[in-house]
Amino acid sequence: MPDKDINQNTTQEDIYKVDHAEEMHLDDARRVKVLSPGMLVFKRFIRNKLAVVGFVILLFMFTFSFLGPFFSPFGQTEVFKGVGTMSKDYAGATYNEELRYTIADGAEFGSSQRTQFLLALGENNETFTCDDQTYYYVNIDDNTYRIMQLEPVAEVILKGFNSLTDDVVPDELITAYKTAEEKGVNSFELDGIFYRITKKNKASIISIEIDVALATLDVYDAYNESDKLMVSSFDFRLASSLALAQNSETFTVGNQTYSIRNGEGQVTILDSAGNEYAEISAIIVNPLDQSVFLTVGYKSTIRQMIINRQSRFSYTHENGETIEYTIARVNKTYNIKKETPIEMIRLFENPSAEHPLGLDNNGMDVMTRLMHGGRVSLLVGFIVIFIEVFIGIIVGGVSGYFGGWVDTALMRFIDLFNSIPFIPMVLIFGSVMDTLEVKPMTRIFLLMMILGLLGWTSVGRVVRGQILSLREQDFMVATEATGIRTSRRIFKHLIPNVMPILIVQATAGLGGIIITEATLGFLGLGVKYPLASWGSIINVASDAFIMTSYWFMWIPAGMLILLTVLGFNFVGDGLRDAYDPKMKR
């Protein structure tokens, strides 16, 4: 009863203050207006600044968690993918080290000839024979050899000419030979036919030169597909090689005149109209994928980059697309890597306008997950406190109301329950759920049940204590006198009087439950991926790499927990003060 008295006192005090301010008459009707207890509590609550701050924080948290997801454009488990680039091998280039042969029309230069040629090249012999044929080769320039077949026509022994053919040695040939010998050269031209003088023992042999093949390290690329035949023809190659060796600027093949433009490490041949016709270079460029066709322009860019020792370049293709390439050298080959766009999950993306708190280690939007996680955390808190209050009211109410041995037994039961260590028990249940592979959603509900079942004892104690004191009060005697049912007496008359202290208890308890749930989430025993809770979001911080590098993944969740629990504590404190008449302000 003393509580009631004080309550009324303060009520009148409050009214008196109001009266005073507004200068009311003693018989003013408003004077009689008495604030309801609820209103009184509300007014006291409003006056407490911290409680109001806490209330605002909670309001924000609820809007954020329960309404936020409707405004968030993303889903909780939506994985964001983006186009990233990845270096993929695209083409290979290498300096050509193998001689390539271009064989003249109608001539034959098979593998046995090639072998003999290579042997002669190795031994520095100018001639070599194969299948009774004698061949002769000339170095046009460093890496091009002109190979000719020699058809002996005459033999000169001690200045006597013997014909090796059926015909007689013509005089012109003899004169030409003599002039050549005087000049000290070993080849001469006569009537458009080239002759070569070779020494064999003491005899000199005059032979007609017939071009057989051209062996070169150079690589030819025609700009147009239609010119490929021409570019790979013997005449074109011979003429161009000779022109290159002589450093002349033009050469003629058939009735076409071509000009030569010397680039760095490669030569461009222009046709008579001045268009690019072919490229000559020592570097082979091949696509890695045979289905890809590399244009000459592209190849020539690569060659230039290799010669200039560039490791990175971009090339604009015919379709107008500019692509980045990198060149990596491995021993003697150069790998050209293309920055190929591929679809990638955007992990650990920093905060941006689109994703205010960035993306997490699964490529999910942190902000959206915080909203959904808040839903789970707050819901877990509310349902657990509901379970606790429900069990607490029943056990505490029965125990307090009946007293005697029922009370003793129930209190010992609560003692026993309280003695069971909380954390080890929750750990055990968590690992049980792990081994049973409970579904994430079911897991949340089980978690609520377990937390509720383990935590109701303090509510039970409070209810019992409150009911013990209320039981003896006059209004309870009145209920007994009027013969109201027991259950009705407990739940209609006692419990409502316990409600205020229960509300205070529950509000303060909510914060604790949210912390417990977050701790379990942090230990990996709470809410499981892909569902989120604030605790499980912070769980990533146990990875030192994420903790140090990506603050946006765990600090916001922690701040939300802190603020929410703080809000519940502020409000709980404010409610306690508001309900407690002794706390005058």
Partner: protein
């Protein structure tokens, strides 16, 4: 008084017994166990000549898991009463030996925390109470509530982030530095102390708020009582009123509050120890529990239950020691 204590002791033993039984029943009914894991491991060994079931049966017999829960529990109690808590399955040494190895880390950290906590929270609590509803009071209340509202793991991680990573003042993990083995004994002690700073700060920040608020509430209650008004009316200085008359009377609830801290002091702090990788009892028992190490889990939980009961009895006795009025009843 003696009767009361005897009754409390008997009740404590009773609760410990049944508490341990509940824990034992829960651990035994787990769907998977340490023994199954070992049996599976041995059965998959190519040299194994036995099947999984044979191994399981044999191991169950060795670990006395083939008997029912109730006989199993009584067997455990029978040994436990004699001081034999068995050998830890996970650590492979007697439970008590492992416990002895690790408990001191926790105890030292918690005792340091305890004293730091008292030195901070009692003066602040008194200050807040004497200047109720002032700015100081609000600041202290907010600070205290912040401490209460912070999840341990978040506070520890933040502290690590700021002081170990950003500022680089402390090591991220562990209890000893890199050159621990080449240090002189004095330096070794200093090194361990240095590594304990962050854990102690973590625990201190979390617990200081509760004690501070508790002290503030008690102080407020005392300050509203008649004898304080009398003391003031006598013309005593405010200092004497607060420190001599008021504070002494807040000691009664404070003493009982501190004895409730006993279980948490000896029980270790799981999260803090895990995050700072300190091999204290909290961390070690966590490892044992999640692996289904029944002897260790049983020993640890029983130890906790017993400790809780002891702390309750100590609180009751302390009441009597501090407050002569209780003694009279």
């Amino acid at each position: 008084m003696r009767n009361f204590i005897i009754r409390r002791l008997l009740l404590g033993l009773f609760i410990t017994f049944f508490g341990a039984m509940v824990v034992y029943a829960v651990i035994r009914s787990l769907p998977t166990s340490y023994v199954e894991a070992i049996a599976r491991q041995r059965a998959t060994n190519p040299l194994s000549t036995k099947t999984y079931q044979e191994w399981l049966d044999q191991l169950n017999a060795v670990y006395k898991l083939d008997i029912g829960i109730i006989p199993g529990f009584f067997g455990w109690v029978g040994n436990a009463v004699k001081g034999d808590f068995g050998e830890s399955w996970h650590y492979g040494i007697p439970v008590t030996e492992k416990f002895n190895q690790v408990i001191w880390y926790s105890v030292i950290i918690n005792i340091i925390t305890f004293f730091v906590q008292i030195f901070i929270s009692i003066p602040l609590g008194n200050l807040a109470a004497t200047k109720q509803y002032s700015k100081t009071d609000y600041a202290i209340t907010v600070f205290a509530l912040m401490g209460i509202s912070l999840p341990t793991f978040f506070l520890a991680t933040i502290l690590k982030y700021v002081f170990a990573i950003k500022l680089g003042w402390f090591d991220l993990y562990g209890l000893t530095g890199r050159f621990f083995n080449s240090m002189t004994p004095f330096e070794q002690v200093m090194d361990i102390g240095y590594h304990m700073i962050l854990p102690v700060v973590t625990l201190m920040m979390l617990s200081v708020g509760g004690l501070m608020r508790y002290n503030r509430t008690n102080m407020l209650e005392v300050l509203n009582s008649d004898y304080i008004r009398t003391a003031r009316a006598k013309g005593l200085s405010e200092k004497v009123v607060i420190n001599k008359h008021a504070f002494r009377n807040t000691l009664i609830p404070l003493v009982s509050y501190m004895s409730y801290l006993l279980p948490s002091m000896l029980g270790g702090s799981l999260i803090t120890e895990t995050l700072f990788q300190i091999p204290g009892i909290g961390y070690i028992s966590y490892q044992a529990i999640i692996r289904g190490d029944i002897p260790f889990a049983m020993f640890y939980t029983t130890f906790l239950i017993l400790l809780t009961q002891v702390s309750l009895i100590v609180a009751d006795i302390m009441y009597a020691v501090v407050d002569p009025r209780v003694r009279a009843n």
